[in-house]
Symmetry: C2
Subunit: 508 residues, 2 copies
C-alpha cells in the first residue's frame, strides 16, 4: 500500500506532485509538534511567539498547497492511467487543493494565530470558571470559521463545510443519520437503565490514588498493549491527546487522585490513536498513503481500544492484578467488580471525557446542536452557558454546577474545531463495526485479552485499516475491512448486548 | 531599540521587507524547537521523519530569503533615508540575502537532512566509543560544507566563509589575532601553574551526589539568578544547550553523580545564553532588532555568568549554604575551598566542557586547527583521532584514553557546525571586557553577588547588550557597551589577576 518506487513508467508529474505533497505534510508535521509542545512543554510566556510560528507555518502550508503548479500537475495526472494507489493520491490532493485554493492565505494565518492565542485563554477561563473571558475569543473564532466556510463553498451549509475538515469522505447527511440511530437506541436504553433495579458495583475505585503511581500504572498498561516506546512517549496535559506520525506517535493523559480509571481509560484511548499513526506505512510518510483517513476512522481506533478492549471484563481479568500491585488497597477487588464499576452508566456526570459509553453520545449531540446553531448565527456566544445547561437538563437530567464543568470543559473550540465533535460518535459506531469484523476473523478476542496477547488484534487493525492510509475513502475502507457499508448497526448490537446483560434489561 | 511602529513616513517597502523577514525568522524558530525536541524529548525512532521536517523547513527558509522580491526591496530601501535602526535591519537582511542567494536550495536541504541524521549516529558512536561509525558522516558533512562555502564565495578561504555563519561581523583574521593573544597569555601561565607549589583545594566536591538532588540545586541556582520560569524550562540532554526566543528561552544540562559542579556550571552557562535571548526586545521578535548578534556575543553572555559570576568567590559565599542544605556532606566546606576547587587548573582533563577557564582555550585551539585542516582538505577524517590525541599531548601534556573522551566528545560536527568553536574563546574575551565595563559602571559586582542581588548586573547587560539585538555589528556593540574596541586585553588582565592570586604566580 506504500508509495511505489519510481519506475520508468512513473509519470514525471506524479513524482513532482509527490515531492510537493511531502513538503506540505512535513510543514504540517512541524506544526503538530509545535502544538504538542505548546500543550505539554512550553512555558506560558511563550504564547506570543508560538502563535506567530504556527500561523506562519499554516500560511506556508496553504501557499504550498495552492501553488498553481499543484493544480497543473493534478490536471495532467487526471488524464493519465495510474495505479489505484496513485489514483488515490491524486484524488486526495485534489480534494485538499480544491478547498484550499478558495481560501485566502491571510484568513488561514488569522485563524491559526487566533487559535494559538485562544488556547491559554481557554485554560485560564476554565481554571477561573469564567465563560466571559473566553466568550469574545469564541465569537471571533466562530466568525473566522464562518468566513472560511463561505470561501470554500458559499452555497453549502457552513457547518457541513467545517465538518468536512475532520471527516472529508462522509456527507453530513449520512453522519446525521448515524448519529440519529445512535441517539434513538440510547435514549430509551438509558431510561431503562435508570429504572433498572439490578445492583451493579459503582464504587470499586473510590478512595485516593497517588498520581505518580497512576502514571506508572498507565505506563504498564501501554507496555502491556504493545506501545513501542522507541516511537512514542507519555506526558501529561490538561486535555489528553495524541499526535504524531508513524515514526513518533505520542500520547498524553492527566491524573486525578480520586479517579484512577479516568487517566487509565484516557491513556488507552490515546494509545488507540497512536497505534493508528504507528500502523501507517513508514515508506509512505508525508504522503496521502501514509496519512490517516480522517477523524472518524481515527476515533474508531481510540474507541475500539478504550471500550471494546479496555472496558471488557477480559481486560480486567488480565490487568487488575497488575494494578493491585501498585495499589494494595484494591487487592481484594474482583475483575467483575472492576468491570461493573468502569461500565456504570452515570446519573449526573457533567464531563464528556469522563462519561460512560452510553451517555457519552448525548454529550456529543448537545455539542453538535450548539455548534450548528453558533455557526448558523442562530445562537449568540453569550447565551452558550444557559443553552448548554438547559440541554444537559433535557438530555441527561441535571444541570452542571459550573461552566468549568459545562461549556468550558472542552479544548476544541479554543482550537477553532467546530464540526469535530460528531466524529467522536461516528468513531464509536465504526469501532463496534470493526471489532465485530475482527472477532469474525480472529475468533474470541476476549480470550486473547485474558492472555495479555494484544498483538493479534493490533496486527488485524494494521492489516485492515492502518496500512491503507488514504487509499480508500471512509466508507470504502470500512467495507474493505468488514464487508459491509458503514452503519451504526454493530454499535446498536454491541450496547444492547453489553448493557442488557449488565443491567438485566429487556432486550429490544 | 525595538521596531518602530509603522507611520505615514514608513516606506512601504520597509514594512513589506519586515513582514517577509518575520516569516523567515518564524520558520527558523520552528526549526529550533524541532531541534530542541529532537535532543530533549523525541523518541529515538522519530529521526527519519524529523530529518525530513527539518530539511523541509531549512529549504523553505532559504527559499523565502532568496525570493527575488527580497532583493528588490533591499535595493529600493538602500536608496532611501532610514532611521539608524531601520538601516541596521536592511544591513542585516542584505548580509543574509547575499550569502543565501548563492547557495542552491537543495544543498541547504541536504545539509539539514544530513545533520539531523548524523545526530543519533554521533550519540551512538560516542556511547560505543567508535569513531569509525561516525567518520563517514563527518566526511559527508565536511564535503557538503565545503560545497556550501564554495557557493558562497569561491575565492575565499572556505573556513572563513563557514566561520561567518556563526560570527558574521568579525573577520577570521581579527578572530585569529584575538585567539593568538589568548593562547600566548595562557600557555606560559599554565606552565607556571603546573610548576607552582602553592597548594589549592582540588577535591572539595569529591564523593557521590544524587542526580535528582543535583537537579533541584540547579533549579535553585537558576531561581536565585533570576531565571523567569514563566519563559523558560530546564531539561536534561546529552549535551547542555540553550535555545529559544525572548518569549521562551530554554536551557538544558546533564547530571553526573560524581561531579556536581559540572552540571551546576553548565546550568549557569546556559542561563547566560537564555538571559541574552530573554533580554531581546519583545516587540522586535522575529526581526533583526530582536535577534542575537551572533555567537561570539552569545558566548560572552554565557561565559560572563559562568565564569565571572559562577566561579567567583562571592558566588560561593552566597550559594554554598544553599547547596549544603541539599547535600549535608558538604556542610563543613568553606566558600574559599569551594572557590579554589571550582577554579583549579586541571592536569589531565580531556573534556572541553569540563575544562577550567584556562586550559579550555587550548581545547578550542586544537579543534580550530583540526577543523581548518579538514575543511582545507589537508586532513582526512579517518586520521582525526590520531591528530586529536597528538595535539592534546602537545598542548595539554596527555593523551585521551578513548575517542569518546577525545574527538567524539562534542556534538558540533554532527550539527555540521564547522567554524563554531572559535566563537567560544572570542566569547570569553568579550565576557571579560563586558564584565570590566559593568564593574566600572556598577561598582563592586561581587558585593551584589554576595547579597544574592543579580538583577542589577542582568539589567546592565540588557541595557548595554541584549536590547540592541542586531542594531550594531559586533565590534560596534562592544564599543557601545564598553567604550573600547573588542580585544583580549580585559581577559588577559582578568586571568592574570585571578590565577596569579590563586596560584601565587609572579605577575607579568
Amino acid at each position: 500500500m506504500a508509495t511505489e518506487p519510481s519506475t520508468a513508467e512513473t509519470p514525471e508529474a506524479y513524482d513532482q506532485l509527490l515531492s510537493k505533497v511531502k513538503r506540505i505534510n512535513n510543514v504540517e508535521a512541524a506544526s503538530m509538534l509545535l502544538s504538542w509542545d505548546q500543550q505539554v512543554m512550553m512555558p506560558e510566556g511563550g504564547t506570543p511567539a508560538r502563535s506567530q510560528q504556527l500561523s506562519t507555518l499554516s500560511a506556508l502550508q496553504h501557499e504550498l498547497l495552492t501553488e498553481e503548479e499543484v493544480g497543473d500537475l493534478l490536471d495532467e495526472l487526471e488524464g493519465e492511467t495510474l495505479s489505484p494507489e496513485r489514483e488515490a493520491v491524486v484524488r486526495e490532493v485534489r480534494r485538499d487543493y480544491e478547498r484550499a485554493v478558495r481560501v485566502p492565505t491571510d484568513l488561514v494565518e488569522r485563524i491559526s494565530q487566533k487559535t494559538s492565542e485562544a488556547l491559554p485563554i481557554w485554560e485560564q477561563a476554565k481554571a477561573e470558571n469564567d465563560w466571559s473571558q473566553f466568550a469574545p475569543h469564541v465569537e471571533e473564532l466562530v466568525d473566522l470559521k464562518r468566513q472560511y466556510a463561505e470561501h470554500v463553498d458559499p452555497d453549502a451549509d457552513p457547518y457541513e463545510v467545517l465538518f468536512a475538515d475532520y471527516e472529508p469522505c462522509l456527507s453530513l447527511e449520512r453522519a446525521e443519520e448515524i448519529l440519529t440511530e445512535i441517539r434513538e437506541t440510547l435514549v430509551p436504553m438509558i431510561d431503562e437503565i435508570r429504572d433498572s433495579e439490578t445492583p451493579i458495583t459503582t464504587d470499586a475505585f473510590s478512595g485516593q490514588f497517588d498520581t505518580e503511581v497512576q502514571e506508572e500504572v498507565a505506563r504498564e498498561a501501554l507496555t502491556m498493549l504493545g506501545y513501542p516506546w522507541e516511537r512514542g512517549r507519555l506526558d501529561t496535559s490538561s486535555h489528553p491527546f495524541s499526535t504524531g506520525t508513524q515514526f513518533d506517535a505520542r500520547v498524553t493523559t492527566r491524573f486525578k487522585a480520586e479517579d484512577p480509571i479516568d487517566a487509565l481509560t484516557a491513556t488507552i484511548h490515546e494509545f488507540g490513536h497512536a497505534t493508528y499513526n504507528l500502523g501507517l506505512p513508514d515508506d509512505a510518510y508525508a504522503t496521502p498513503l501514509g496519512e490517516h483517513r480522517g477523524l472518524s476512522v481515527h476515533e474508531s481506533q481510540s474507541r475500539l481500544w478504550e471500550n471494546h478492549v479496555g472496558r471488557s471484563q477480559a481486560f480486567w481479568e488480565r490487568f487488575l492484578p497488575t494494578m493491585a500491585e501498585y495499589f494494595p488497597t484494591i487487592e481484594e477487588m474482583t475483575p467483575r467488580e472492576a468491570y461493573e464499576s468502569v461500565n456504570q452508566v452515570y446519573e449526573d456526570n457533567p464531563i464528556r471525557v469522563e462519561a460512560d459509553e452510553l451517555t457519552y453520545h448525548l454529550h456529543i449531540v448537545l455539542r453538535f446542536e450548539i455548534e450548528r446553531a453558533l455557526i448558523a448565527g442562530e445562537l449568540s456566544v453569550e447565551d452558550v452557558p444557559e443553552v448548554w445547561n438547559d440541554k444537559m437538563e433535557e438530555y441527561l437530567g441535571f444541570r452542571p454546577e459550573t461552566d468549568a464543568e459545562g461549556c468550558l470543559q472542552d479544548i476544541h473550540w479554543s482550537h477553532g474545531s467546530f464540526g469535530y465533535f460528531p466524529t467522536y460518535s461516528l468513531g464509536s459506531a465504526m469501532a463496534a463495526q470493526l471489532f465485530q469484523a475482527a472477532e469474525a476473523d480472529l475468533g474470541d478476542v476476549d480470550a486473547l485479552t485474558r492472555e495479555g496477547e494484544f498483538d493479534t488484534l493490533r496486527e488485524w487493525l494494521r492489516e485492515n485499516v492502518h496500512r491503507h492510509g488514504q487509499r480508500y475513502e471512509t466508507n470504502a475502507l470500512v467495507r474493505e475491512a468488514t464487508g459491509e457499508d458503514f452503519s451504526a448497526d454493530a454499535f446498536t448490537d454491541y450496547v444492547t448486548e453489553k448493557y442488557g446483560a449488565l443491567y438485566d434489561l429487556e432486550r429490544v
